[in-house]
């Protein structure tokens, strides 16, 4: 199976993501960066003109800007601070972010925004949400119920509302992303999707797609939800095939 094909009869997350701007929000460690990177590479493979905006001003390790070289080699524009501020955990929003958001007006352009975790992270997007026409943007709330504080519906709902307030925008879709990394089983994915649907029932926000490690795609027969195959780009140091600082973990 190549990267572009899905098992027969299965809907693809890319089919349902038609908005030119996709903003990822959610709990800390819910999987926003991994999903942002996969969407960026996937949309690029589908011929889109992709910009990836790293708005994570909160957490300094394992951000999607660390994939800078691989993104560049695929022709994806990364919008993130440069120089030594690349490594900082300071509230730096580069002016190019506003440019990227307003450039998403040509038909082939796709802008993916990886906001930081929780309301603290979403606030950075809130500062420029006036630039984004809600009709042309998806604000996706990523849910991994195996993360701390994300296991119960009341906590998820209140976090979702806090994120909306900070982002000054309504969440338009949920992303089911429950996993335990290499220990993920199809049952864990299924129960995570059920929890995301419960949150959908309570909030009226649809589940847009379910993210799943590529090796599990075939074992998720009968799952009636568009799937996003995930290839891990955010890797621990021993999984990096070649040398590099933590600032270059992508096997480049």
């Amino acid at each position: 199976m190549d990267a572009m094909t899905m098992p027969t009869g299965r809907r693809d997350a890319y089919e349902v993501l038609t908005a030119p701007i996709v903003v990822l929000v959610g709990h800390f460690g819910s999987g926003k960066s991994e999903i942002a990177l996969n969407l960026a590479f996937g949309m690029r493979e589908r011929g889109r003109d992709v910009s990836l905006v790293d708005l994570d001003v909160v957490k300094p390790y394992f951000r999607c800007r660390l994939a800078r070289e691989e993104l560049r080699s695929k022709g994806i524009q990364l919008v993130a601070p440069e120089g030594d501020r690349f490594y900082a955990d300071l509230p730096i929003i580069v002016p190019q972010v506003r440019g990227a958001l307003s450039r998403a007006d040509n038909e082939n352009a796709r802008v993916i925004v990886d906001a930081g975790g929780e309301d603290q992270g979403a606030r950075a997007f809130g500062a420029m949400s006036d630039l984004v026409d809600p009709a042309r943007a998806e604000l996706l709330f990523v849910v991994n119920t195996r993360r701390p504080f994300a296991g119960d519906q009341a906590g998820l709902t209140s976090m979702l509302r806090d994120v909306e307030a900070a982002a000054r925008a309504k969440v338009t879709g949920l992303v089911a992303n429950t996993h335990l990394m290499e220990e993920t089983t199809p049952e864990i994915v299924r129960s995570g999707l059920a929890a995301a649907r419960e949150l959908s029932g309570a909030t009226g926000i649809p589940v847009r797609f379910c993210a799943v490690l590529r090796r599990l795609l075939d074992s998720l027969g009968g799952v009636d939800c568009p799937l996003l195959p995930i290839d891990r780009h955010v890797l621990p140091p021993e999984k990096r095939s070649r040398r590099g600082p933590i600032g270059r973990p992508m096997g480049i």
């Binding site: 390790y61 490594y87 140091p237 095939s241 933590i246 600032g247």
Partner: protein, 353 residues
């Protein structure tokens, strides 16, 4: 409790709660902010107290007070913040108080950077603050092990009435892995501490003190502490990996570097080179005897650290010239790849084997 996907820092925080600890005093610093953040959210849920102190110096002295009152208590920081805590830690060691301190190391010296490092090995294992004292130092290399060692750290601290440090580099604190908590200790089930200052009603007064003006008394106190550190020697822990039947190169590494070494072992196998790993889990007491025995089956020894060479001094002292000992370090937040370790092992073999 079902397995959770946790950052090292979050797992450390949850482990402290599972160990029956209900007090955290600390001050934020990257890359360990998730520990105070986690404790500030979780402690109120379990009837505990979180205080963001006005500084690390203050936090370490709050630890002194809480531990003196017989409570399980912990703090966490990263390299520059741990330097600030040294005054309190020296007093705590002198007054023989059980506390747990977590250092999620970042690159130094000075403010340095915020990326991972192991350059506080000397500070952790050789005292850190002033005076003749030692911390018991535990070095996890996975998120699960970080959680397990935190729970053990509280027991060890109580047993020896001594500060115990969890020493992890930034990656151990920041990486996410599945974690399981198998046992939970309730604070009310913890053994009583008859020496604690809990009010003297019905008994003789207890005194927590680190001031000894009489030199004979202070000398006696120092030798008492020294004998305690010798008793701690039985707590040594280590892991030997791929060392059965000997090896060409024995890599000695802890924390993140030990993880990278395991990948290097696989890469080297394809080249017909056998690398073994000796991973100290206790950095103080150092598993010297086990290292010497493991190294007997190795043709050469390579120490690798995220420092310019700190643990290597303990390894050289242990090996005492019986095997060639090489060193490879990366610093400043740079992390070696597994291929670099294979390259270094090949160089060592070319020169010495």
């Amino acid at each position: 409790m079902a397995k959770k996907l946790m950052k090292g820092c979050e797992a450390i925080g949850e482990a402290a709660i599972h160990a029956g600890c209900r007090l955290f005093f600390g001050y934020p610093i990257t890359p360990q902010n998730e520990i105070p953040e986690y404790m500030s959210a979780r402690l109120p849920q379990v009837g505990g107290t979180f205080v963001q102190a006005e500084s690390e110096v203050a936090a370490s002295n709050m630890l002194y007070g809480a531990a003196g009152a017989g409570c399980r208590v912990f703090t966490s920081s990263s390299s520059p913040g741990i330097s600030l805590m040294q005054e309190g830690l020296s007093y705590i060691a002198a007054a023989e108080l059980p506390v747990v301190v977590v250092n999620i190391m970042r690159g130094g010296p000075g403010l340095g950077g915020i990326l991972p490092s192991q350059s506080d090995y000397f500070q952790a294992t050789k005292g850190g603050g002033h005076g003749d004292y030692r911390l018991l130092v535990l070095a996890p290399s996975t998120v699960q092990e970080a959680a397990d060692l935190v729970i053990d750290a509280f027991d060890l601290a109580d047993e020896y009435r001594n500060p115990v440090m969890i020493l992890g580099d930034g990656l151990i604190g920041q990486m996410m892995e599945p974690v399981e908590f198998k046992k939970e200790i309730k604070p009310e089930d913890l053994p009583e501490k008859p020496w604690a200052t809990t009010g003297r009603a019905g008994r003789q007064q207890n005194i927590i003190n680190s001031l000894y003006l009489d030199p004979e008394q202070l000398e006696a106190h120092n030798w008492d502490l020294h004998r305690k550190y010798q008793r701690m020697a039985k707590e040594v822990r280590y892991e030997a990996f791929n060392t059965d039947g000997g090896c060409d190169v024995l890599i000695v590494a802890y924390g993140t570097v030990a993880r990278i070494t395991k990948t290097a072992i696989d890469m080297a196998r394809e080249k017909g080179l056998k690398i073994g790993l000796f991973r100290p889990i206790t950095l103080y007491p150092y598993p010297t005897e086990a290292l010497v025995q493991t190294a007997e089956g190795a043709k050469s020894v390579l120490v690798s650290e995220l420092s310019t060479g700190q643990m290597v001094e303990d390894v050289r002292a242990a090996i005492a010239g019986r095997r060639p000992v090489g060193f490879y370090g990366r610093v400043g937040g740079m992390v070696m790849g597994p291929d670099e370790l294979v390259e270094q092992a090949e160089k060592l073999v070319a020169v010495h084997v």
